[in-house]
């Protein structure tokens, strides 16, 4: 019987060519067939959901900060273990191949997220949300214009390098900061609005937050749609 570490190895990408590993997961049934085989050695699962849970339990056991077993998926890329918490609801009607597709898609998402974080660090020395936290600290220290400059620096640099996916991910992870900083993010991303799918949702979020604070006036976001 394969060990848990062996199972994790199915997710491990060679550091030199990590994309090839994703390719392998997409093109082959290694991981899923392995678990299926193992699961079926003992008792044949009654439902697809049981099969999925079996797989995820196995993976779950390898990670840290374990949440609900059916909601956790772990992967290892470029030697770094990464964790994603995701909705994992597999109805009985899902076929084996569909289930595999879902696992593969989720794994690809984990890898893509991890890569984005790595790119942030390469560009800025820290992640995008961490930069926004720095901006919040500057603002708290009374340096509000410097905080705004940091936000504009962040997005301008990402756009200059063509990293629209990174900028988009910041919009999905941005902390609930001050109204000035939230409007700065909306303004800084205006020139790239066609490339940022998350921006409309972010604007809704900003409006909701500002309304809750009782600071809302239409002029705050007018012209930034």
């Amino acid at each position: 019987m394969r060990s848990a570490a062996d199972l994790l190895d199915q997710f491990v990408a060679p550091a030199q060519r990590p994309l090839a590993d994703i390719e392998r997961l997409q093109n082959q049934d290694d991981l899923f067939s392995l678990v299926k085989e193992r699961s079926w050695k003992g008792q044949v699962p009654k439902t697809r959901l049981e099969l999925a849970e079996e797989l995820l339990r196995e993976l779950d056991g390898l990670g840290e900060n374990v949440g609900a077993a059916q909601d956790a998926l772990f992967a290892k890329v470029d030697g770094t273990k990464i964790t994603v918490m995701a909705e994992w609801d597999v109805p009985d009607t899902v076929s084996d191949s569909n289930l595999h597709e879902q696992i593969t898609a989720l794994t690809a998402k984990v890898v893509a997220d991890w890569r984005r974080k790595a790119e942030y660090v390469a560009i800025f020395g820290c992640s995008g949300p961490e930069l926004l936290t720095r901006a919040q600290r500057l603002e708290s220290a009374g340096l509000r214009d410097s905080a705004l400059d940091l936000v504009y620096d962040l997005f301008d640099e990402l756009f200059r390098r063509g990293h629209f996916a990174l900028a988009n991910s910041i919009l999905t992870e941005a902390p609930e900061c001050s109204t000035d900083l939230l409007v700065a993010i909306v303004t800084a991303t205006l020139p790239a609005k066609r490339s940022l799918a998350a921006r409309p949702h972010f604007m809704e979020f900003v409006e909701r937050v500002i309304r809750l604070r009782g600071e809302w006036v239409p002029a705050l976001l007018a012209g930034l749609e």
């Binding site: 705004l148 301008d156 200059r160 390098r161 303004t187 930034l224």
Partner: protein, 232 residues
């Protein structure tokens, strides 16, 4: 024209975040820029397109009058932040061309940078200011209400001649020549737009207010000239 402040009466460090600044350089020529304040540094600068590839961000002279558009303070801060960003970006490249392109869509579709590609030739001091506000999501003028005027083409022809004498590239001169006859947003009309905002100003109102602004600025010019004659 009460909102058009004079530095003798209103120190520029009273600019809350951002303002349009305008002066008459000759009886028939105005120049315009954006005053922007960095509160962290307690510093107000004038960002203006002085000439072809000559973007300046400097402490303004006392010749300018200024007006702050009625923006929400949070939005005005963003325009000021945009001024700093553009200043920083172009201090490294010094490639802000002069031309008669409209102030809209001045950023690259690919990188979202404030650039001039094949479809953008360059800006004047007035359209540069409008473009910066646009860059921050603030539309000061109803561009589609603007109308061409015969003397605008004359002025554009003079600018082309100056660009030729300045040694602008052949490609740029050709592009600018092709833009002669395009709509002109005059500095005094942009100042009028700042006074009237919100809403975005229409051409007829801007033109009418602009004429009053020119009268005020020409009075300033006469006073300055008289003062310099006395000193000389």
């Amino acid at each position: 024209m009460n909102r058009l402040k004079q530095q003798g009466e209103h120190a520029i460090n009273k600019v809350p975040h951002v303002a349009i600044a305008i002066t008459a350089t000759r009886k028939d020529q105005r120049h315009l820029g954006i005053l922007h304040r960095n509160h962290d540094l307690e510093e107000t600068k004038l960002l203006h397109l002085a000439w072809h590839h000559l973007l300046k961000d400097e402490v303004p002279t006392t010749d300018f009058r200024w007006v702050s558009p009625s923006l929400h303070p949070t939005r005005a801060r963003q325009v000021a932040a945009r001024c700093r960003q553009v200043s920083k970006a172009f201090s490294l490249r010094a490639e802000m061309p002069y031309g008669f392109s409209p102030p809209t869509d001045c950023f690259s579709e690919e990188t979202a940078q404030f650039l001039f590609g094949a479809s953008k030739v360059g800006l004047t001091c007035a359209t540069f200011a409008l473009a910066i506000f646009e860059f921050a999501g603030v539309t000061l003028a109803k561009y589609d209400s603007w109308l061409p005027r015969p003397d605008d083409s004359d002025w554009q022809g003079q600018v082309l001649e100056m660009l030729e004498n300045h040694g602008a590239s052949t490609e740029h001169l050709t592009a600018v020549r092709n833009e002669i006859g395009s709509l002109r947003f005059r500095p005094e009309e942009v100042a009028a737009a700042a006074i009237g905002f919100p809403p975005a100003i229409d051409f007829a109102t801007a033109k009418q207010m602009g004429e009053s602004i020119v009268a005020v600025l020409n009075d300033d010019l006469e006073t300055r000239n008289a003062g310099s004659r006395v000193i000389n």
